[in-house]
Each structure stands twice: as structure tokens, then as C-alpha cells.
């Protein structure tokens, strides 16, 4: 059974203006997105800035108002629930934020940061709570000595680990990672990513991995959805998308992945030129007259492409 189903999700922001600040238009941040997620898999949401991938993640966890559509988590439609009832479900969905510098309260010690969800949902004594916090610190590879430190005493990678530890505190089933490594330098990126893979295996977690770094996504994800203007242009397994891209937008993205092997330099350049030519000639075939993306059509069992 799928753990999370998104059906025709739309998130629109009103643009107000004119007399009495009437609603004159809307920004279609997410415009008709459907998605199914199996337990234990990692799903990559990829796209350029402003393509709606973060908005999708935030609306799953309830930080954005949904304009239309349904989000079903373990058979329960989340958008139907009121905030109080939703809380129980949000216990099972957690989020790792993009910016480790602003996502941790600078005035709180590590112990209070990580214990916050525990205090909200579980009744534990002080000792049990401390034990759990130190357990979590150990899972993310930090020593228990940091329990009473402040976030500013950590490096970016360590802070992101604290963010992960906090997200793990309630044993969630689904973790939404919103560009968890984009604020970190490359050596630390690998550290955090490998660590996330490890805990996924250990704790049987489901990840939604939001990123615009195609190399990272390939390393992490089983399935990938490519977004453009709030819609999917292509969806499939990592192999489908990287080895056999069908949509011109995906092709351009894949062509843009840098390859540092000098042996392939010429081939790479030729491939890029070829994709560029193709884009110039066939771009209009892939988008409708308003410039928006078509509905997804199956190419194989796992591979869906937005073609007319």
C-alpha cells in the first residue's frame, strides 16, 4: 500500500491590486500535481528555482494552504482534518529544512531543541527525555557532550545533523527533506547524504528529497519527478530519467550535469550542442500555447512524460 498519495494538488497565491486590493490574478505555484509514494522509497523532486518543489513539500506537512486537491497519508485525507486532529498525523511526517542556520532556535540548547517534539507528543520523565536526546545524538553521529551547547557552536554540517535528529525524534514514517544539503559545502554534503541513506535503511524511512542538484538526486533517489512551472514534466525511476529522458526540459537538465572526466570532454560538448539544437527546433512541441506543460502520459510502466 502506498504511504502517501497526492491527487491533483494545486497551491495558488492571489495577486492583489487595483481598487480595494481585489484579487486580480493568481500565481500558480503548484498546478495539478499527482504523486504516489511507496513505503521505504526515496522520491526526488527536482526542478529549477520557483518550479514549486518546495511548495509541494511544505503543503504536505501543512505549512501551505492547499487551494485544491487531496493529500492522503496512510488512507487519511489530511486536508479534511482540522488542525487539532491533523497533529496526530504530523507526528508521522517530519521535515528537514533547507537552511540549518535559521531552522534551529539560536536561544535554545541542543537538549531543548531536540526534546521539543518529544515534549509535545510523549510523556517522559526528565531522565528518560535526556536519555532519548542522547540516543538521537548518537544516531546522527554527535557525541553526548554537545547536549548543553547552543546551535551557533556547531558547523553547518553538524547543525544539519541536529535538524535530522529533531526530525527523527518521534520515529516518523515520512521525512520531507527540503534541499537538506544545498547550504553545505561538498565534503559535508556527502557526509550528510550517506548518513541519511544509512538511517533510511536502519529505520525503514520514506524520504521525499527536494533538490536541484541532479548529482545528489541520482545518488539518493529511487524515483524522480522533474517539475517545471508547478507541474511534472517527467516522472520515473532514476534510470528512466537519467538514461532515457524523453521531455526536452529533462534532456537539457541531464545535458547540464557536469562531467569532470577530460576523456569525455568532446563527446559531452557535442551532446550538449545536439540537445541545444533539438531544443531550438522542437521546443514548441512540448508546451501548449500558454507555455504550460501537458498532462503526463505513460511511456513504460514506470516512466511518465508530459507529451501532447
Amino acid at each position: 500500500m502506498s504511504i502517501l498519495t497526492i491527487n491533483n494538488l494545486k497551491v495558488h497565491y492571489p495577486i492583489r491590486g487595483g481598487l480595494f486590493r481585489r484579487k486580480i490574478d493568481v500565481v500558480r505555484a503548484v498546478d495539478g500535481l499527482s504523486l504516489e509514494l511507496q513505503r521505504g522509497e526515496t522520491y526526488g523532486l527536482v526542478g529549477e528555482s520557483g518550479s514549486g518543489k518546495s511548495t509541494t513539500g511544505r503543503s504536505i506537512i501543512g505549512l501551505e494552504e492547499i487551494t485544491e486537491g487531496e493529500i492522503t497519508f496512510e488512507g487519511q485525507n489530511l486536508s479534511e482534518l482540522r488542525y487539532r486532529d491533523r497533529k496526530e498525523y504530523y507526528k508521522d511526517i517530519q521535515m528537514v529544512f533547507q537552511d540549518p542556520y535559521s531552522s534551529l532556535n539560536p536561544k535554545k540548547r541542543v537538549k531543548d531543541l531536540i526534546a521539543e517534539p518529544i515534549r509535545n507528543f510523549e510523556n517522559r520523565s526528565k531522565e528518560e527525555e535526556l536519555k532519548r536526546v542522547q540516543e538521537l545524538l548518537e544516531i546522527v553521529g554527535l557525541s553526548p557532550e554537545v547536549t548543553y551547547k547552543y546551535p551557533h557552536e556547531f558547523s553547518g554540517g553538524q547543525k544539519q545533523r541536529l535538524g535530522v535528529a529533531r526530525a527523527l525524534a518521534l520515529n516518523p514514517k515520512l521525512i520531507i527533506a527540503d534541499e537538506p544539503v544545498s547550504a553545505l559545502d561538498v565534503s559535508v554534503q556527502a557526509q550528510v547524504l550517506n548518513f541519511m541513506k544509512k538511517i533510511q535503511k536502519d529505520l525503514n524511512l520514506t524520504f521525499i528529497f527536494i533538490s536541484h542538484d541532479l548529482g545528489v538526486v541520482r545518488h539518493m533517489c529511487d524515483r524522480i519527478g522533474i517539475m517545471y512551472n508547478g507541474r511534472f514534466v517527467e516522472e520515473g525511476t532514476a534510470e528512466d530519467v537519467y538514461e532515457n529522458p524523453q521531455h526536452i526540459y529533462t534532456k537539457r537538465l541531464v545535458a547540464a550535469i557536469p562531467d569532470i572526466d577530460p576523456e569525455n570532454r568532446k563527446e559531452q560538448a557535442a551532446f550538449r550542442r545536439q540537445v541545444k539544437e533539438e531544443y531550438k527546433e522542437t521546443e514548441h512541441n512540448y508546451f501548449d500555447e500558454n507555455g504550460s506543460v501537458f498532462d503526463l502520459k505513460p511511456v513504460t510502466d514506470t516512466h511518465y512524460v508530459a507529451l501532447p
Partner: protein, 303 residues
């Protein structure tokens, strides 16, 4: 059992590595800044002295007119001489400073409470609530507050310290509300507030445990600087004759004796001590406030 004991010893061990909390940073900053340190010591000792000594003085006794001791120069009987009613200036100075300080502190506390509450609510919830509250603030800002206070004082026959504090507080909370709101608006956009939401914390919990601790520095600074301003406003009103009556001495009433040219030229002991005291108090409180302001901004810190 063993596990919890282990955790306890562990906690004890790591306890020693606690990093400096916020108030310690404030303290080091003040200790580094010699002028602020002297100011703080001065303010605290003046307050301690005034509140301590006034316990042994009776206001009624001091403000009683003594026709045999009019306009006496400082002597061993009257340390700072007497005024035109034969009232001891030293006693009036102590009681007056106490009254002025009490008014200043009370006004700062009450207006601070109103301002912080409304500012945090407006900033945290934003949108329509923010809009409504800020229009209320605008409304209070356009009222001619000095005029209204004066009218109030003229209309109410027997006003006390309490009613004076209330009427001043009504016109003193807008500034802090605006400052707190603007900072809260900025903080609320940061991810840690949103993270708290996803971790299941309620609005009240987020406001008290996440938002207000991060506003605390700006609140402390604004309140300190407001304190100096409020003491000034009280003295100013009393000087103009719209503050306390002569039966309730304050720094302002003492200084207002200087409006009489003879007193100004020949009887310095009546108004000079009060003027110096108010100057010293305002300067010192401002110095401490500036040091606190620097401490809250890491870029300006000297420590």
C-alpha cells in the same frame, strides 16, 4: 534505573561545558564598557539610597509648612536648606526622587506590558490582526498626548501617583509595540518558527518559548531607554505645573521653583541638587541602555 543513573552522571559531567547564556554576554559587555559600568553602579546606588532613606522619612512631615524656617540656607538642621514654605529640601529631594523613579518604572512596566503583548500578537499572526492593531497604534500616535494628560490633570481633582501612572501609560506603549512588532515580523519568517509548527507546538507555546526569547534583547534595550524617557516626561510635566501638587514632591516640582527669578539667582540649594540628580540619572540610564544595545548586536560588541 542503572541507565538513568548513567544519564545523570553524564549530565553532571557535561554540565560544566555549558556555553555562556545571554545574560552573561550582557554582563561582560557592561563590564568591558567602563562608563556603562560606572553608570550602572551609580544608578543602582542612587536607587538603593533613595528607596532606603525614604523608608525613614515621612512625606506628610516634610511637606508641612514651617513659617519659622522660610528660605533658610543649608545648615546642620536643614542639609540642603528650605523652600518658601520652610520645607526641608533634602527630604523633598529624597521623596521626590523616589516618586519620580516610581512613576518612571511603573509607566515603563505597564506600557511595556501592553506594548509587548500587542506587538508580539501583531507581528506573529500578521495579516488582518496586524493591520487592525497597527491602525489602533496609529490612532494613539496622532492623539495630542501632552494636551490630554494636562486636561486630565485639570479635570480630576485629587489625582494620585496611581492615576498619574495610568494616564501616562496609555500614551507610552505605542513605540515599543511598533519595535517589537517589526522584529517579530522578521523572526516569524525564519525556519525555526515553522519547524516548531511542524513539530506540533501550539501558537502560545511558540510565542512564549521560541519568539519572545529571541525578542528579549530588543525588549530589554527599549525598556531601559524608555525608563529614562519616562522619568523625563514626568519631571517635565511637574515642571510645567501639570505634574504632582506640592504636597507630593518630585524632581520636577523642585526644579520648577527655579521659575522664580529670586530663587534662580540667590537660592541655588532649592533647584541645583534636583537638576544635577535628574541629569545624572538620565545620563546613566542612557549609558547602560547603549551598552545593552551593543551587547545585543554581535557586530558592535566590544567584548
Amino acid at each position: 534505573m542503572e541507565g538513568s543513573q548513567q544519564a545523570e552522571t553524564l549530565a553532571e559531567k557535561v554540565d560544566m561545558e555549558k556555553s555562556p547564556p545571554g545574560w552573561k554576554i550582557l554582563l561582560t559587555e557592561i563590564l568591558r564598557d567602563k562608563i556603562a559600568l560606572i553608570s550602572l553602579i551609580l544608578v543602582v546606588s542612587i536607587m538603593a539610597f533613595v528607596y532606603g532613606v525614604s523608608l525613614f522619612l515621612s512625606q506628610d512631615e516634610i511637606v508641612t509648612v514651617d513659617l519659622f524656617a522660610i528660605h533658610e540656607a543649608p545648615s546642620s538642621d536643614f542639609w540642603l536648606g528650605t523652600d518658601y514654605g520652610g520645607r526641608d529640601i533634602f527630604g523633598q529631594l529624597i521623596i521626590g526622587t523616589r516618586n519620580s523613579l516610581t512613576v518612571g518604572i511603573a509607566v515603563t512596566a505597564i506600557s511595556g506590558f501592553i506594548g509587548i503583548t500587542l506587538g508580539v500578537i501583531a507581528g506573529y499572526f500578521g495579516g488582518t490582526i496586524d493591520n487592525i492593531l497597527m491602525r489602533v497604534v496609529d490612532f494613539f500616535f496622532v492623539l495630542p498626548n501632552l494636551l490630554i494628560i494636562i486636561v486630565f490633570i485639570v479635570i480630576v481633582p485629587q489625582y494620585t501617583i496611581f492615576s498619574f501612572v495610568l494616564i501616562m501609560s496609555i500614551f507610552a506603549w505605542m513605540g515599543i509595540a511598533r519595535i517589537v512588532r517589526s522584529k517579530a515580523l522578521k523572526e516569524r519568517e525564519l525556519d525555526y518558527i515553522k519547524a516548531s509548527r511542524t513539530l506540533g507546538s501550539s501558537h502560545t507555546k511558540i510565542i512564549f518559548k521560541e519568539l519572545i526569547p529571541n525578542l528579549s534583547s530588543i525588549i530589554i534595550v527599549t525598556m531601559t531607554l524608555n525608563l529614562a524617557a519616562n522619568i523625563g516626561i514626568e519631571s517635565g510635566l511637574s515642571f510645567l505645573g501639570f505634574g504632582f501638587p506640592e504636597s507630593t514632591p518630585s524632581l520636577g516640582t523642585l526644579i520648577s521653583y527655579a521659575t522664580n527669578p529670586t530663587t534662580l539667582e540667590q537660592r541655588w540649594w532649592i533647584w541645583v541638587p534636583a537638576s544635577i540628580l535628574i541629569l545624572v540619572l538620565m545620563l546613566c540610564i542612557n549609558n547602560v541602555g547603549q551598552a545593552l544595545r551593543r551587547a545585543t548586536d554581535a557586530k558592535q560588541r566590544r567584548g
